[in-house]
């Protein structure tokens, strides 16, 4: 929205500048590694090897990426409606609660073929419900969605601790976890599915939810760019007043957008609870909701970009774990640091480089003859 950028060609605006921003984030990360006395290039080598070098690494990378696709899509959908949903963490948490409750209730009665869609539904409904209250308050009572979703993250956290410590805990144990789900409540792992086709793969937490995540990407793309509702959504995002003038019921669009966003975030619960942990437990969201913001910013709010950014962050998480294991002075939180830097450079400082790139571009193109009428 900043002036001065519109005269740049598209490839610079959506290609060069985002890449430049990420490079700056990685450069600063490298300086931090240097500052604590390690070799950044060696660190990168360890991370790449850890993330893609062998089967377990790839499996873990894709498992993390699954979570990031969901939270990244969640932030993107809200963003297209002009809303900033930073409640992905809480919505994912409550989505997981929904999955857990359904499975704990029905895993002795129903087969996985029915429980899987039920789990998807529960994750979506619970996640959406947790986003619906801030959405309603934003649309109808004028309270800012950013503040209310922050508050709802904390409320979700308190609620889950209460439920797991006092209600859902498996009797006779100390750690606040529910009982383990029966096999009918567990989604198949990818290595199990590959084994059905005779393909051997190392056991990793990667599970069928990854495929659901990719389906969601296509769904979100179709919804936002190929449907009437998506058109309304984007219109509201561009200008609420114009949308209202065009007869769009903006308040309803805001609530629907936030509910879809919350539902998508809720699918993290599907991946974690039904796919990997097979029990309900505390803090399984582990900051994935916040990573979604970095993913969405980096992926420019487009499903394809979100998948790419999720892969990068999946690799960072997995490679970062490997790095922390190999180099004792570097801890896993380096990944959190990098995440913060990515949000800073591709989000808050996204337009920092625009003025001087414009200057360089002008200097380079100044010699050429400009066709009449196309002058800026």
């Amino acid at each position: 929205m900043k002036s001065g950028g519109q005269e740049l060609p598209r490839w610079i605006d959506i290609g060069l500048i985002p890449i430049l921003n990420i490079c700056m984030a990685l450069l600063v990360s490298g300086l931090i590694i240097l500052a604590i006395g390690e070799d950044p290039l060696e660190a990168v080598a360890i991370m790449v090897r850890g993330a893609f070098g062998y089967e377990e690494g790839i499996g873990y990378t894709l498992y993390y990426a699954t979570n990031f696709i969901f939270t990244g899509l969640a932030v993107s959908v809200a963003f297209h409606a002009g809303l900033f949903n930073i409640g992905g963490e809480g919505q994912a948490y409550i989505g997981g609660l929904g999955v857990g409750l359904v499975i704990l209730a029905f895993d002795s009665l129903l087969p996985i073929a029915i429980l899987a869609p039920l789990g998807i539904l529960a994750a979506a409904v619970f996640g959406a419900a947790w986003a619906a209250v801030p959405a309603y308050l934003q649309a109808y009572r004028g309270s800012h969605v950013v503040i209310t979703t922050i508050m709802f993250n904390f409320i979700a956290s308190a609620l889950m601790v209460y439920l797991l410590v006092n209600v859902l805990i498996k009797p006779g144990q100390m750690s606040p976890e529910s009982r383990e789900f029966l096999p009918s409540g567990q989604l198949p792992f990818m290595h199990e599915m590959l084994a059905w086709f005779g393909i051997p793969f190392a056991p990793t937490p990667m599970n069928i939810t990854l495929i659901w995540a990719l389906i969601c990407c296509v769904g979100v793309w179709a919804y936002i760019w190929r449907s009437r509702w998506g058109y309304e959504l984007r219109t509201v995002g561009h200008s609420e007043a114009a949308a209202a003038y065009a007869g769009i019921r903006t308040r309803r669009v805001i609530v629907v957008a936030m509910c879809i966003s919350g539902g998508l975030a809720g699918f993290v619960g599907l991946n974690e609870i039904m796919g990997v942990q097979h029990r309900l437990l505390i803090n399984f969201t582990a900051g994935y909701g916040f990573t979604g913001i970095a993913v969405s910013l980096m992926g420019r709010n487009h499903p394809f970009g979100v998948v790419m950014a999720s892969l990068l962050f999946g690799a960072l998480y997995q490679g970062g774990a490997e790095l922390a294991f190999d180099v004792p002075t570097i801890s896993r939180e380096l990944v959190v640091t990098i995440q913060g830097l990515v949000i800073l450079f591709s989000g808050a400082l996204a337009y920092m480089s625009t003025p001087w790139i414009t200057r360089v571009y002008r200097a380079l193109t100044a010699g050429r003859v400009v066709p009449a009428g196309s002058e800026a």
Binding site: I150, I330, L344, G347
Partner: protein, 324 residues
């Protein structure tokens, strides 16, 4: 009766200790938000300041150098926030979030690299901390019934930064409502164009606001690691920056009410700690999580307009772009 009195004094003292960083952060946020810059990065600034203050105090053995380090750190982050939001018109929420995440990661990364204690800093000697101060004549009047007891046990015996926090409130009120700077600050948060038209720099005004915010969050962080505790522990702010933000909103962006909200949230926390596992007659065991979530619930209810109306500064969150 005697027991109830002692219990009350203990609870009030606990409230004061918990509320101190909240008050400092809420006052910090007040400057930033009143100038039109949303600041959700109180948490991150406080955490970074706590870490650097703890590190500096551990290495140099001086609480004052720790304080200086804490303030300098928070100030750097505040300037970063200003650089992104004021100079480059970046999204203020995104910038704040970036600072929070950056602080949460970097404090642990550096802590482990420097001290090898899993992200904590070494625990501090009394000389490297701000220790409780006994106010003048507190000992002498301790035996005077009521007033003497209250003075010696409630007013006296806190560390320096607690007094700083409580004195900051009237000072902030005075600056915001009784000085030229305060008038301009409030104006720039409501209508920056009018301020600009009057020939006053919106940019410089907002930068000053975020810098004051940096100083106050720096003191808050320092309080946590080298006054209230004897060293930094990873993630030690534990959401208090967000509670302070909630208190600021709850107090409708005004110093007095925000101060009251901080005390109330502090009291809730003090009660929650005391009620842990206690069986209250007639109610049963009160879930601690419920009390801990109460500040957030109350703030949402307030924002929803069910108990009064919280109206934010009009220009909050909107970068000021000069017409050319």
């Amino acid at each position: 009766m005697e027991d109830a009195f002692v219990f009350a004094i203990l609870t009030v003292n606990a409230t004061v200790r918990v509320a101190t960083p909240l008050i400092l952060c809420a006052m910090a946020g007040l400057f930033s938000e009143r100038s039109g810059v949303i600041d959700i990065s109180l948490e991150g600034k406080m955490l970074s300041a706590a870490f650097i203050a703890g590190s500096v105090a551990a290495i140099t053995g001086s609480a004052w150098l720790g304080l200086a380090g804490g303030i300098a750190t928070a100030m750097c982050l505040a300037l970063l926030h200003g650089y992104a939001c004021i100079t480059h018109n970046g999204n203020q929420v995104v910038s704040g979030l970036a600072i929070n995440i950056l602080a949460s990661g970097l404090t642990v990364v550096l802590g482990i690299a420097w001290f090898h204690r899993g992200g904590d800093t070494p625990s501090l000697e009394a000389t490297a901390r701000f220790m409780p101060i006994t106010l003048p004549v507190a000992r002498a009047v301790a035996d005077v019934p009521l007033i003497g007891t209250l003075y010696s046990r409630l007013v006296s015996g806190h560390n320096l930064l607690v007094y700083v926090a409580f004195l900051a409130v009237p000072l902030v009120w005075w600056v915001v409502y009784r000085t030229r700077f305060g008038l301009r600050l409030r104006a720039v948060g409501e209508n920056p164009k009018a301020v600009d038209t009057a020939g006053i720099s919106v940019t410089w005004l907002r930068y000053r606001a975020v810098m004051i915010c940096g100083v106050l969050t720096g003191i808050a962080g320092t309080y946590l690691s080298i006054a209230h505790n004897a060293g930094f522990a990873r993630e030690m702010t534990a959401g208090q920056g967000y509670i302070a933000l909630a208190a600021l909103i709850f107090g409708k962006w005004r110093p007095g009410p925000a101060f009251g909200a901080c005390l109330m949230f502090g009291l809730l926390d003090a009660i929650a700690i005391r009620l842990q596992g206690v069986h209250v007659p007639g109610i049963g065991e009160v879930p601690v999580q419920f009390i801990q979530a109460l500040p957030y619930v109350l703030t949402v209810v307030l924002l929803a307009g069910f108990i009064g109306k919280a109206v934010a500064p009009k220009a909050i969150g909107v970068p000021y772009v000069k017409d050319t």
